[in-house]
């Protein structure tokens, strides 16, 4: 099935640059305390130039990007592959488009490609979400 004009693609989401405090807050809020994201001394001992962002911070931004577009209760699946590290100072952009729409279990499901890119357009995260386009009678969610 093809896309219809009644199913606009999600709007891109531009994020503020990643700062050290972004990573400290995310570490606390996510319970991911891997020191490679918050302790520069640890990161350098591991051979890295500095701390870098949690992959799941980028995925959380993609989650925002999706729920800005459709109610969360319509998200059926959400998966990503982390392609390259997000460094300090990175100004990320979330974007994506509907790939196709199919019927499944009486739902119209849109498959959406989602991406996180850096300022120069370099790919950081790529993935796919599957969302229901219309509310379902006798909704099983919520």
């Amino acid at each position: 099935m093809s896309r219809g004009a009644d199913n606009p693609d999600p709007q891109p989401l531009r994020l503020a640059p990643i700062e050290r405090i972004t990573l400290a807050l995310y570490a606390g809020a996510s319970s991911d305390h891997n020191p490679v994201h918050i302790d520069s001394d640890f990161a350098r001992r591991a051979g890295l130039p500095d701390v870098f962002a949690h992959g799941m911070l980028s995925m959380a931004y993609l989650g925002r990007f999706l729920t800005d577009w459709i109610p969360q209760s319509r998200i059926r699946r959400f998966s990503v592959r982390f392609v390259s590290r997000v460094e300090l100072g990175a100004a990320l952009l979330c974007s994506g488009e509907i790939l196709d729409i199919n019927e499944h279990d009486r739902e119209r499901l849109a498959r959406v490609e989602v991406r996180v890119t850096g300022e120069a357009g370099e790919l950081k995260v790529i993935g796919e979400a599957c969302v229901a386009l219309a509310p379902v009678a006798g909704t099983r969610l919520r």
């Binding site: 995310y26 319970s31 490679v36 959380a60 998966s79 982390f82 590290r85």
Partner: protein, 150 residues
């Protein structure tokens, strides 16, 4: 080389109550300003029972295990050489603040690429609520590199 005999090993399950304060802190940390994720009344207005658990927050609740480094210790992983390779969520029901969720993680696979320069391990986690309802399935692919690819 990671120990392949551990494939299929079940990690210790744990249960956690979804606290509103944790959800608000997560909203702050991710720049989320949508009131549905901050305010109980707005969440109810939007049709949810309470503030919803955001799409990726189940992964964070999984980190709230009493022993979050169990898998790292089991596989003798080096935190400085670890990367998150892939993550996926399959959602069955919405979870909201106040729910008590149980996480049952299992080490489902180990494999290597590029002549062992990259070692992958896969953790699959079933999430259920206090009524035993199936909430979601998580799949996390971790990668340990041997230092040549930094």
């Amino acid at each position: 080389m990671l120990d392949r005999t551990l494939i299929g090993h079940c990690l210790t399950p744990h249960s956690v109550e979804v606290a509103k304060g944790r959800l608000r802190f997560f909203a702050k940390a991710t720049g989320q300003l949508d009131p549905v994720y901050l305010d109980e009344a707005a969440a109810r207005q939007a049709g949810y029972r309470n503030i919803p658990v955001p799409p990726t927050f189940l992964f964070c609740l999984e980190n709230d295990s009493p022993d979050p480094w169990e898998l790292q210790r089991l596989l003798d992983l080096d935190l400085g050489r670890l990367l998150h390779g892939e993550q996926s969520f399959v959602y069955h029901r919405m979870a909201c603040a106040g729910d008590v969720l149980t996480f049952e993680p299992r080490l489902s696979d180990i494999y290597s690429r590029r002549d062992g320069a990259l070692e992958f391990f896969v953790r699959e986690t079933r999430v259920t609520d206090a009524m035993g309802e199936h909430i979601a399935d998580l799949r996390c692919v971790g990668v340990q590199h041997d230092g040549r690819l930094v």
